[in-house]
Symmetry: C2
Subunit: 454 residues, 2 copies
């Protein structure tokens, strides 16, 4: 049995750099090839661009392929652009078809065509280039083994032993069964085959009730099915139920991670970044954020409009102004809490558009409870601050109304977004706060004007 | 080949209810048993508590076990409490050991002990009760097959055919190899066994370099390893590397989903909910939110303090007040964008505490770019609004400083949280905005006072 040694990535990186500096490419290659793909990619992306481009053609094509698969899309494209057509074609040839299609799709058309033409077998990759990145078809691999219903179990096992695509064990946990027209008829797990009578027919062992995704469906739908039913892989079919490809476990993990990133960035009010944070140029990050920031600024100017309406009242009782940031801030916070809850409930399938009224009734009561608590709390705080009882009462009453209002709006916005087919994460956080700012201000100043008889 | 019919869940639910109303339990049972576990649980949780408790003992114990596993924790406990000890023991007996331990851990100690005593084989569940819910040990199953290095491949395959625990195919994609002391020595996939020479020794076919998690490590560490290396299962060991259990794919999917929920709720400034949204009583949701809201309110009162310092200036130039919500709102938005990006970069491992200076330098430049853009934009907006040039310039200069400051703070807060071992998601959104509100106000009013020579 081999002994196992543990080095952390920084040690490996230091050794690789030392080897490269002393001109010992062989040593650097050996170090990198000893790592797991995800770690290879990490070490690799820490190297200078020139070091990467000179090192990659010296690695075995399978290792280079693994690294290109594991790198962030942007980094992979940069690296691909620095390689010769021949080197790149040799590496792409070893990539999983779905990953190869992703990379080629990000290259200029002429370059992609040149690479496809120099590849040994491009026929697995070409059809994948038609599918949108965000669709189920854009995720699937076309490199897999299918079984026929009339095959015997022993023949199926033999086929798996001899014909299964190398390096793609992840397509073999579930084997899909198709008829002569390529129509998906069933699924059987490797384990079921192993336990079945070798003389039985695959068609009698398989499960005919097999879940699948349409190639043109959003990849989130596919990921949702895999999460809900704990599936290790999911077949992708066309509109006639013909089997086109398989989404495997590793792709599933990638989607879940990317979709979570997208949601969290969107909740923060920014377009998602497409690479490792520190590698993305400052100007590009700024560009991703500035549009949203300006949109929110324009919406935010409504607050100024509202304040102008009440200019005289604010001049009369300056103490009212002191509570403005606090009041609208509390409204925004109460709304954000609600929005985050509802967005998540929509994502996990607890809540749908038609639950709107139930959600509204639920949150209205929560809002009144929270509003009452904050009103009491705010009143005490105002009095302790030495504010007069009149302004204190106005602040308390406003808190009750503003919090209830913010919670209600916060619950409806994500549902409305879903109905209008936006991503509900888009309306959370910043957009919510900005909308509640102006309306909260209007509520506060109106209530105050009324209660203080201004 | 069997025909497949598709009904949506609402149809099934209607049929089940109709069957129950007409007293036809057999029909209701047949309908539910025809569904997949996740769907069974969905239909089930829509039924009234009493219907659930009367129906469950009539289902096959394996189906009841599936349903209890798929239900949200809170719902499962409620249902368990309505069942007799004998019924519950029979169902828990069929649950996966890790799920059984979770459920028993949520029941009162005396009840859990009674159930364990009435179970056929409780020895797989008992040791799991020691592990914390949030630890790797709390996720693992103890119901799995191990191989020995000296076994022949043919013997291993025979053992898998004959001894493998029924209903747990997910523990069989990767088989773990232990020595006579139970120490983890390697891993081999079912597919590798199938392709290997039947006469070979498992020790020669397996990979000795096997990743594992310590039972007392946080479950997020385990999930992180599984995501990074695309693992279908992960062995859990004690401090001497003795194999204690396996975390399987379905548990992994559950953690990822729960941890995402936790992050998103926390970013919204609320403690995570522990059940399906609409089922949680209003008062409990309000209690989860009110603490955070009050804390933010107290922090928010700082804005009032700042405004008091500048009361005379605000009275002199009321137009200054009109821009307050807009300015602090923009600061909060710019900060939220940054925080969301950094939180996610920390989560996926792009950024660590020691990258602090690099992050700061990155965001400082982004902040200045964004601040300059917003200053220009804000100035134009102020002039179009008919505000004087002097106030317009003060607003523009403040926007530059406030946005730069908010972006800088927004980048450092999540890193600081990580360093202090808080969840970075906690400091995002509401907390960020509230902190930037007071400081942004201070910056704005100071800049304005200076520029307008008040």
């Amino acid at each position: 049995m081999e002994r196992v040694f543990h080095l952390n990535l920084d040690d490996v990186l230091r050794l690789v750099r030392a080897a490269l500096e002393s001109g010992d490419q062989t040593q650097a290659v050996a170090l990198i090839q000893a790592l797991r793909p995800a770690d290879q990619a990490d070490v690799f992306s820490e190297l200078a661009d020139q070091e990467q481009a000179s090192l990659l053609p010296n690695l075995a094509p399978e290792d280079s392929a693994d690294i290109l698969e594991e790198l962030e899309d942007e980094e992979a494209v940069e690296l691909a652009e620095a390689l010769s057509d021949a080197d790149l074609a040799r590496i792409v040839n070893e990539m999983e078809p779905d990953e190869a299609a992703d990379l080629l799709g990000d290259l200029p058309d002429a370059r992609a065509e040149a690479i496809l033409n120099s590849m040994e077998d491009s026929e697995e990759v070409r059809p994948l280039l038609m599918h949108a990145d965000e669709s189920a078809g854009g995720l699937m691999t076309t490199d897999f083994l299918v079984l026929r219903p009339r095959m015997r179990v022993s023949e199926a096992l033999m086929a798996i032993r001899q014909l299964a695509p190398k390096d793609s064990a992840e397509t073999l946990y579930n084997l899909y069964v198709v008829d002569t027209a390529g129509i998906l008829r069933g699924v059987v797990s490797l384990y079921q085959l192993l336990q079945a009578d070798p003389a039985a027919r695959v068609g009698d062992v398989m499960e005919a009730d097999v879940l699948s995704a349409r190639a043109d469906e959003d990849r989130e739908v596919a990921a949702g099915l895999m999460t809900r039913y704990d599936l290790l892989s999911l077949p992708v079919v066309d509109s006639t139920n013909r089997l086109l490809g398989i989404i495997t476990h590793d792709d599933f993990v990638d989607i879940v991670e990317e979709e979570t990133t997208e949601d969290i960035q969107m909740m923060g009010g920014s377009a998602p970044l497409d690479g490792p944070y520190l590698d993305i140029p400052v100007v590009r990050v700024a560009r991703k954020r500035v549009g949203w920031l300006m949109l929110l600024f324009i919406t935010g100017t409504l607050t100024g409009t509202v304040m102008r309406w009440f200019a005289d009242d604010l001049e009369a009782v300056v103490a009212l102004a002191f509570f403005i940031p606090l009041l609208i801030g509390t409204g925004g916070n109460a709304g954000s809490q609600t929005t985050a809850t509802i967005i998540r409930s929509i994502a996990v399938g607890d809540v749908r558009w038609r639950d709107g009224l139930a959600v509204l009734w639920h949150e209205l009561r929560i809002g009144i409870l929270l509003g009452a608590a904050m009103a009491l709390f705010g009143f005490v705080r105002a009095i302790l601050w030495g504010t007069g009882y009149d302004v204190g009462f106005a602040v308390a009453a406003s808190l009750l109304v503003v919090v209830t209002w913010a919670v209600t709006v916060g619950s409806l916005l994500p549902l409305l977004a879903t109905k209008l087919r936006f991503d509900p994460a888009m309306v959370s956080g910043p957009l919510m706060s900005t909308l509640v700012d102006a309306t909260g201000l209007l509520i506060y100043l109106s209530v105050a004007k009324l209660m203080l008889s201004l």
